[in-house]
């Protein structure tokens, strides 16, 4: 559903990777792994159509992303940004409601459908109790969950998550991964997430994309791509593989 071909990832003054191509289909959960500065966030922004790419194409259901209006694109692709550079002065509920912008039908205020979607999203991340609180009063982890709730209220077909687990405690890390896993499997969404922890991908992701230093890219099924040798080369540090039942984990030595 979300496909890129021949993509060049670059930040001003530096090319990070060339010829990146893969397709995240409905029901798949992709992990994007790489060292700091390897282009993970740049890839997410390119896939979301938030930044122009020097070369290559991104297409959504076969049509180039650039041909869609902003509102149409936001109805199809939702992004969880790694950081937000602004304060929000309203309540948590008002913050989550902003996710409905591309779907809002009325000029003034939100419709009942929007309110319902926002409430359901807050319940899904366990923040329903804090709906009336000021967004600024939330802790870092609660803010991260509010951002996820906003994305759920947006209800796109493809989710692009840049470090969805940051600031979250262990319980909520698992809850968020289960939440997006269920969205992919049960509601046929495509999910692409940038992860930093080698612990989770082998357990929760169906596919993986590795961005190596020097711009080399490997991608494919998680079971084939996520091997000890590849991850050691990716992160440049020795790892051990732990098997527990059917699950595989990688941890630093």
């Amino acid at each position: 559903m979300l496909r890129c071909d021949g993509l060049t990832l670059a930040v001003p003054g530096r090319v990070l990777a060339r010829e990146v191509g893969f397709e995240a289909r409905r029901g798949e959960i992709w992990a994007v792994l790489g060292a700091n500065g390897s282009g993970k966030t740049t890839l997410v922004h390119a896939l979301a159509g938030l930044a122009p790419v020097p070369a290559g194409t991104v297409a959504l259901d076969g049509a180039p992303l650039g041909e869609r209006t902003n509102a149409a694109r936001a109805g199809l692709v939702g992004v969880l940004l790694q950081q937000e550079d602004a304060e929000f002065w309203g309540s948590v509920l008002e913050y989550v409601l902003l996710g409905r912008f591309s779907r809002a039908r009325t000029w003034f205020g939100w419709g009942r459908e929007d309110e319902g979607a926002a409430q359901a999203a807050l319940e899904a991340v366990g923040l329903a109790e804090l709906a009336r609180r000021g967004y600024r009063t939330l802790s870092g982890g609660e803010r991260q969950r509010a951002r996820i709730a906003q994305l759920l209220a947006q209800d796109p077909q493809a989710f692009l998550l840049d470090e969805p687990l940051q600031h979250l405690d262990l319980r909520h890390q698992v809850a968020v991964l289960r939440l997006f896993g269920a969205l992919a499997r049960e509601r046929d969404r495509a999910v692409v997430m940038v992860l930093h922890d080698a612990l989770w991908p082998a357990r929760f992701c169906s596919h993986a994309l590795l961005l190596h230093d020097g711009g080399r890219v490997e991608c494919g099924r998680a079971a084939e791509i996520l091997s000890r040798g590849r991850l050691e080369r990716l992160y440049g540090c020795p790892l051990q593989e732990i098997e527990a039942g059917s699950a595989r984990f990688f941890a630093p030595l």
Partner: protein
């Protein structure tokens, strides 16, 4: 009743009360009953003339000016994502001031002075917009800096004009610079601008809430960022020019009224914009009534009154809501 709705009712009442007080107050005594009578059933006569040819146009001009400034301030604070932005930050008023003062020095009449003020403001807007757009990459940071630098340049030229102008003209110039509604013309054009600007701004208010989160985030949520930014810039600039043409550079209203509304617990621009317009209009109407009655027959520049009345109110609001900040 939710808080914004309650504030809307309160501010609407304040606006009506402010306009009514402006009609009642003045050196020529007219009782409130007579004013009501004249409003409901206009019959020609001295009372009618005082109300409809002197006080009402000035009160309406003050209201429009306050509403325009508060709207422009709120819009620019959203556009530049800077809490210290006010309607004059992009050099519109200093451009207008330079034009007006040069016309004064040249001995021009009111019409020519207005034309010169308009030319100065338009020049400032054109330069700011042109320079920040020229690189092809629209950048709010560049827009802000260009405006501030240009405003500084115009201010320097204004000061130069002030110190080199003949003594008899300096007082009139100072009134213009501090903001003064004594010479305000017909408020009709300002009201037209106000109504159109409010309509445009409220239509884009949902987008402004998104813009407050940052441009990338706003785009990811489906906002066409650049068209909105340009629309907001143009609306704020036109509103500022309309206000400046009416009363010179009245300070404080454009910067502080939106913050006062925020301190009362309203964050969403859907409510913040109309509430700011009402509060700004009511506030400037009252301030102007004070400006023409406090030291009558001497008139005070209303820009001084806005600060003298507004500063303690703002400080009290800040103190009261410290916990919420």
């Amino acid at each position: 009743m939710s808080r914004p709705v309650a504030l809307l009712a309160l501010f609407s009442f304040a606006a009506a009360a402010g306009l009514f007080i402006a009609l009642v107050s003045g050196p020529f005594p007219i009782s409130a009953l007579l004013v009501l009578d004249s409003v409901l059933d206009p019959t020609p006569g001295l009372v009618h003339d005082v109300i409809w040819q002197l006080r009402a146009p000035r009160a309406l001009a003050a209201f429009a000016c306050g509403g325009l400034l508060a709207l422009a301030g709120a819009l620019l604070q959203a556009l530049l994502r800077n809490a210290l932005a006010d309607p004059y930050i992009l050099g519109v008023s200093s451009g207008a001031a330079l034009g007006a003062l040069l016309a004064l020095v040249a001995g021009a009449g009111a019409v020519l002075m207005n034309a010169a003020a308009f030319a100065g403001a338009a020049l400032a807007i054109a330069i700011v917009f042109g320079l920040s757009f020229r690189s092809g990459e629209w950048d709010v940071y560049r827009l802000l800096l260009t405006g501030v630098v240009l405003a500084a340049g115009f201010s320097a030229l204004v000061s130069l004009t002030l110190v080199t102008a003949p003594h008899v003209q300096v007082k009139g110039m100072l009134f213009w610079l501090m903001g003064d509604l004594s010479y305000a013309g017909s408020p009709l054009s300002a009201w037209t601008v106000l109504i159109v600007a409010v309509a445009v701004a409220v239509a884009g208010a949902a987008g402004l809430d998104l813009l407050a989160l940052g441009e990338v985030k706003a785009r990811s949520l489906g906002l066409a960022v650049k068209p909105l930014q340009i629309a907001v810039f143009v609306t704020a600039a036109v509103a500022t020019v309309a206000a400046v043409m009416l009363a010179g550079s009245v300070g404080f209203v454009g910067l502080m009224v939106p913050h006062a509304v925020r301190l009362m617990g309203v964050a969403s621009y859907r409510w913040l914009l109309p509430l700011s317009v009402l509060l700004g209009g009511a506030f400037l109407t009252l301030a102007d009534t004070a400006a023409r009655t406090l030291a009558a027959p001497q008139q005070l520049p209303v820009g001084v009154l806005t600060a003298i009345i507004g500063v303690p109110v703002m400080l009290a609001l800040l103190g009261r809501t410290r916990a919420a900040l």
